[in-house]
């Protein structure tokens, strides 16, 4: 019966939209388990994938909002570096780790605020603004660090960041907590609803009483805060603040958001998808290290996989 078939197809495509990225993730894990069973079935593997993905997931969570309003934030990598460097400088000069971390995240927020103000006051596309601030923030990082790495953080900081709670690294807990808070924001708050509205149709949003500039500003501040937190996590993992840290990370963040189903045209996407996207990239990275793919080839594979998985997604979801 034609009707029956239609209904089944519909539910299939709906199911794909909801769980498709999860499917890809499982598929990748299965491939990995078959290729390297000895490594795969170790808890340390899971721990490692989680902690490696955390930085990317955190950045991608912020990037998600920028893309959701049909914009983009290319400065996230530089924000990670600058807020991380700022934090590191504070810690080595004797500020307590807690205060330094808070101030570092605040720095992320401030940099996001600058992005938002610039987008609002110039009316230029965020692509241009954040391309510029990407260079500026990186430059400032180089200046304040004198182009050299900063290390020697208080032991309490390094110890805290290296902890595991039931095999789950602190980095992953931070990322999960951020994801939960932001999922709540997108699903349950008026602010979240308004951001989707703004991304769907700016004009309609304005006529519906949504303050476009205020929401744009908030979106960039969220992106900055997420990058600032990613800076904390990266500092904990690497143990030092490098002036060139997180270079090119915006690519992975954008990829995670897009693989996770966020629409470049704005207004569509989910936090859950972004987390899945971040994990997929994490697994691919980990898998290639495990299979000892050379780092140069890794870049090629990563690029191809990004294009491949998004194409697959659009192909299956768009099938009528």
């Amino acid at each position: 019966m034609p009707t029956k078939m239609k209904e089944r197809e519909l539910t299939f495509s709906q199911a794909w939209q909801r769980y498709g990225t999860l499917g890809i993730l499982v598929l990748l894990l299965v491939i990995l388990a078959i290729l390297r069973p000895s490594f795969f079935f170790k808890t340390s593997t899971i721990t490692q994938i989680l902690s490696q993905s955390s930085v990317n997931i955190l950045i991608a969570l912020g990037e998600f909002f920028a893309i959701l309003i049909a914009g983009i934030d290319l400065s996230v990598g530089s924000v990670v570096a600058l807020s991380g460097m700022f934090m590191a400088k504070l810690m080595v000069s004797g500020t307590s780790p807690i205060a330094a971390v808070l101030l570092g995240v605040f720095m992320g927020a401030l940099l996001g605020f600058i992005n938002g103000i610039l987008v609002n006051s110039t009316g230029l596309h965020p692509f241009i603004i954040t391309l510029g601030t990407q260079a500026i923030f990186r430059g400032v990082t180089l200046i304040i660090s004198d182009s050299s790495a900063v290390f020697g953080f208080p032991a309490s900081f390094s110890r805290f960041m290296a902890q595991r709670i039931f095999y789950v690294p602190v980095a992953a807990i931070i990322a999960i907590a951020a994801a939960l808070i932001l999922a709540f924001l997108t699903r349950q708050t008026k602010l979240g609803r308004n951001i989707y509205a703004l991304g769907g149709n700016r004009e309609s949003a304005w006529y519906s009483g949504i303050n476009i500039k205020l929401h744009t500003l908030i979106v960039f501040v969220i992106s900055g805060i997420c990058a600032g937190i990613a800076g904390v996590v990266l500092l904990g993992r690497v143990g030092s603040a490098e002036p060139a840290a997180a270079t090119g990370f915006e690519t992975y963040a954008i990829a995670a958001a897009i693989i996770g189903g966020t629409s470049f045209f704005g207004g569509k996407g989910k936090i859950f998808g972004v987390v899945m996207g971040g994990l997929i990239i994490g697994v691919i990275n980990f898998g290639m290290n495990l299979l000892s793919v050379s780092s140069t080839l890794q870049q090629v594979v990563m690029g191809a996989l990004i294009i491949g998985s998004v194409t697959l997604d659009r192909f299956v979801a768009g099938r009528k």
Binding site: K6, K190, S204, G209
Partner: protein
Amino acid sequence: MKNVVKKFPGVTALDGISFDIRAGEVHVLLGENGAGKSTLMKILSGVHKPTSGEIIINGKAFSHLTPYDSYKNGISVIYQELSVINELSIGENLFIGRLPMKKLGFFETVDHSEINKRAREILKTVGLNRDPKTAVEELSISEKQQVEIAKAIAADSKVIIMDEPTASLTSSEVESLFKIIRQLKKDGKGIVFISHKLGEIMEIGDRVTVLKDGGYVGTKNISDITQDDLVTMMVGRQISKNYQHENFDFENEPVIFEVVNLSRKDNKVRDVSFKLHKGEILGFSGLVGSGRSEMMNAIFGAEPKSSGRIFIDGEEIKTPSPYSAIKKGLAMVTENRRETGFFHNFDIAKNISILPFVKTSGAGGISGLVSKKAEAQWADEQRERLNIKCYSTKQLVSELSGGNQQKVILGKWLAADSKIIIFDEPTKGIDVGSKSEIYSLMRRLADEGKGVLVVSSELPELLSVCDTIAVFLEGKIVKFFSHREATEENIIHASTAQESEET
């Protein structure tokens, strides 16, 4: 087309429809919102695949058409949402997909002189006096439509389908469209004409086919029937022509809304003042571009004003932005649903609930939580009130028929439960039956003590609902008519005559 059936998940949009088009006739397709008119035409143009049935073109049978089949067999569709490409020139639009080429050494390039030569000839037949090199974005809506028709002629179409072509046209533009249609008829083209405006149908149609809920009601020769017959065929009952209360003396009622000396910097609105009494419906007439929508936008805070004061219940309000206007009790059903109306990424319920959420939020519209329960309730209320045809309020708005999309927009603004409601072209694309329901609704709102302001280019609409009609000319109100003195003639006269007196 024979026994065409089309099922969408959840609805049967067409249930065994047969429909034929003869050369040299205008075949009108009529039916309520969601009856299946656009769907039937999209099957002809190859957008949708029918679930069953067949399509016969010049004796050749097809189970379905691809867009290419449709084009090859001489079918052109002019959708309500025009599909001309703004960035290209008129000429390029006419020949897009089959641009004439010329050899240039080893290369082939687009032959622009050929395009412009051929385009000029075709534009002459549709009466568009424009250089083919003009970019389409510089054209008005009616000119864009003429380009679409020219495109159909350039493709040598035998059948031209026009889906609500007159919904956004002024009466003089409709006249020039009809002139073109008559010429096309003479050239032996078959025209399918979809419209909710019965007067137009009687004027231009040869035969009419009525659909109802995806089913076939009947086909008649226009010359054999009256406008009232059409309404009965379509709605199944007669509808009222007037919605004013007789002997209602609103002058003695308190003023609930007042605008004093409103002006805009761009001079599109100049020193406008008016009062609205409790229970009164105030309409605004005037030519397109006379400043009515511009004034409403300024009142609502969507566009800046340079001076002027606004009062609700005698209390002055400031509206620097739509947010503040909404908070103070204003709502505005905007003219253009696609651009300023709905959110295509939201389902019906989310579209309808956006305003109540904004209205009840604090801190500049950002604080507070959404409630799924309240959302569903608001959506159901409006669905019932406006009779929105959908199988669930979780459906995307883009899946609804044109008229039902418009109803969602109305619902969105009514859900705000505002004191003063501005309706700018509220019934664009809405069928006659639903129109009458909307007019009754407006009257009920006014009776409940809400302020109702209506901007419309359809004079019959203003004449049948408004107690007072203000006529706009070049950014000013030139005259107020009470509904007893208002007639089509004196309103048209007021909205044009002054011009010649001044100059």
